[in-house]
């Protein structure tokens, strides 16, 4: 049986790992290549690197980092952040990334999803969606969650699937950084409405939150950052607990 995935996320700026709490106040949590290797050894199923570098120079550093990660790490990884063209993706995949994650660029130009899935296959196209509830409606946000769009989360997710995305990484802005649990209602609705895998993101604080997102949120994978980076949750212990709750994991 296919197992549920545990995915540590490493935010990268100029080649270093950082993690935003509610997307501000960056705290340094180490060298990405060293962290990535450690996570692979500790039983992480996949890794996500989110490049938040603002400069061209910073992005070049990321490309070098991708190559180093591919050299040393024997589990799959996704790279996201600032990707807006077929050429960007080509460079990342050629450097050894397994998948890329696009967000704002897909909202600005949805055809990019079609272009990428036609050229590289849906399996390497992850569409990240940041959303928060406004007057009871889940609204998609741009630019790390700071700018609201007109898009409804569920409509946009459906469109993304139709255009050829292989997976959706859904971050609830209402939950991100709170350590209060994932947005399981919205996740379950996404997972039921769509036929591609859904990664839950935003809100991980305890082991029970992971149990809940797989059972109640019907998520296929769960992503978290600080709880892993600062050793608050050990991946092995997390997976053992998931197994006890009859959730299929790779141990």
């Amino acid at each position: 049986m296919l197992t549920k995935r545990i995915i540590p996320c490493l935010d990268i700026k100029n080649g270093r790992t950082v993690k935003g709490v509610n997307f501000v106040n960056l705290i340094d949590a180490g060298d990405p290549v060293v962290l990535a290797k450690q996570y692979a050894e500790k039983g992480a199923d996949e890794l996500v690197f989110l490049d938040i570098s603002a400069t061209l120079e910073g992005r070049k550093t990321t490309l070098e980092m991708v190559l180093k990660v591919a050299e040393q790490v024997n589990i799959p990884f996704t790279v996201g952040g600032g990707i807006s063209s077929v050429e960007d993706v080509d460079l990342l995949l050629k450097s050894g990334a397994d998948k890329v994650s696009i967000n704002s660029s897909a909202i600005n130009r949805p055809e990019l999803i079609d272009e990428l899935s036609n050229k590289f296959g849906s399996q390497c196209v992850v569409v990240a969606i940041d959303a928060k509830q406004i007057n009871g409606q889940w609204i998609v946000h741009l630019a790390g969650g700071s700018i609201p769009t007109e898009l409804d989360l569920f409509d946009w997710a459906k469109e993304v699937e139709m255009r050829g995305a292989g997976e959706i990484l859904f971050t609830s802005m209402d939950h991100d950084g709170t350590k209060d649990g994932f947005a399981n209602e919205a996740l379950a609705r996404l997972s039921t409405a769509l036929n591609i895998p859904i990664i839950a993101s935003g809100g991980a604080g305890t082991i029970q939150h992971f149990v809940d997102t797989f059972q109640k949120g019907k998520s296929d994978a769960a992503l978290a950052a600080s709880v892993f980076h600062f050793g608050e949750i050990e991946i092995k212990e997390l997976k053992e607990n998931l197994k006890k709750n009859n959730i299929k994991v790779r141990l």
Binding site: M1, L2, K4, Q72, P76, G96, Q123, P197, R250
Partner: protein, 193 residues
């Protein structure tokens, strides 16, 4: 040992190369027929869309070279699927090494299958030192049915071939280069053949 990774424009060749490096081997990337024919071991990776990949093979003349190879050949993911008779993906004709067709998963399951799933009924020296039900990383929307060439199975939607073998040809649906230490062991087993 002279290992060649076939580079025809449709594959995550870097990851395969790096995985071999981690095992102490130094493969070369090539699409040159002569270089491929002279290799001790050939790895045939593939990521992407089947009919596009097949077009690239035909364009470079590799569609005739690959099935005639005599040394051990390992097809990975789409590489394995292209070694089959045909695939529903873009209705492409395959290289016809494995006498089996490739079909799409039904909508009873999420497509693509993405993540770690177990392999069982292991029947080859390719799996020396690998436990039954070991987990491998898989990403695919199409599968090869169980057939006479099946040497490992996986269950998703149904039991399908996660590895195939015929004579000197091996194919794995999973990514050994991305499947942690067990995947590395399978790659090592292939390179030791």
């Amino acid at each position: 040992m002279n290992i060649v990774v076939i580079d025809y424009g449709a594959g995550n060749t870097k990851s395969v190369q790096f995985a071999c490096n981690r095992l102490g081997f130094d493969p070369v990337l090539s699409k040159d027929s002569q270089v491929i024919q002279d290799a001790d071991k050939v790895i045939f990776p593939g990521v992407g869309q089947a009919s596009n990949a097949m077009d690239m093979l035909i364009e470079s003349g590799l569609d005739a070279v690959i099935p005639s190879l005599k040394q051990p050949v390992l097809g990975i993911c789409l590489g394995m699927q292209l070694l089959c008779n045909s695939t529903e993906e873009g209705n492409a004709k395959g290289l016809g090494v494995f006498d089996v067709s490739v079909k799409r998963f039904s909508n009873n399951v999420k497509v693509p299958q993405m993540g770690w799933n177990s392999i069982f009924n292991l029947e080859s020296d390719l799996f020396e030192g690998i436990k039954n039900e070991a987990y491998m990383y898989l990403v695919h929307s199409y599968y090869a049915e169980v057939c006479e060439h099946t040497i490992a199975q996986t269950n998703y939607d149904l039991n399908y071939s996660s590895a195939l073998k015929k004579d000197n040809f091996y194919g794995v649906q999973f990514h050994p280069e991305k499947s942690s230490t067990e995947g590395a062991q399978i790659l090592r087993n292939f390179l030791k053949l």
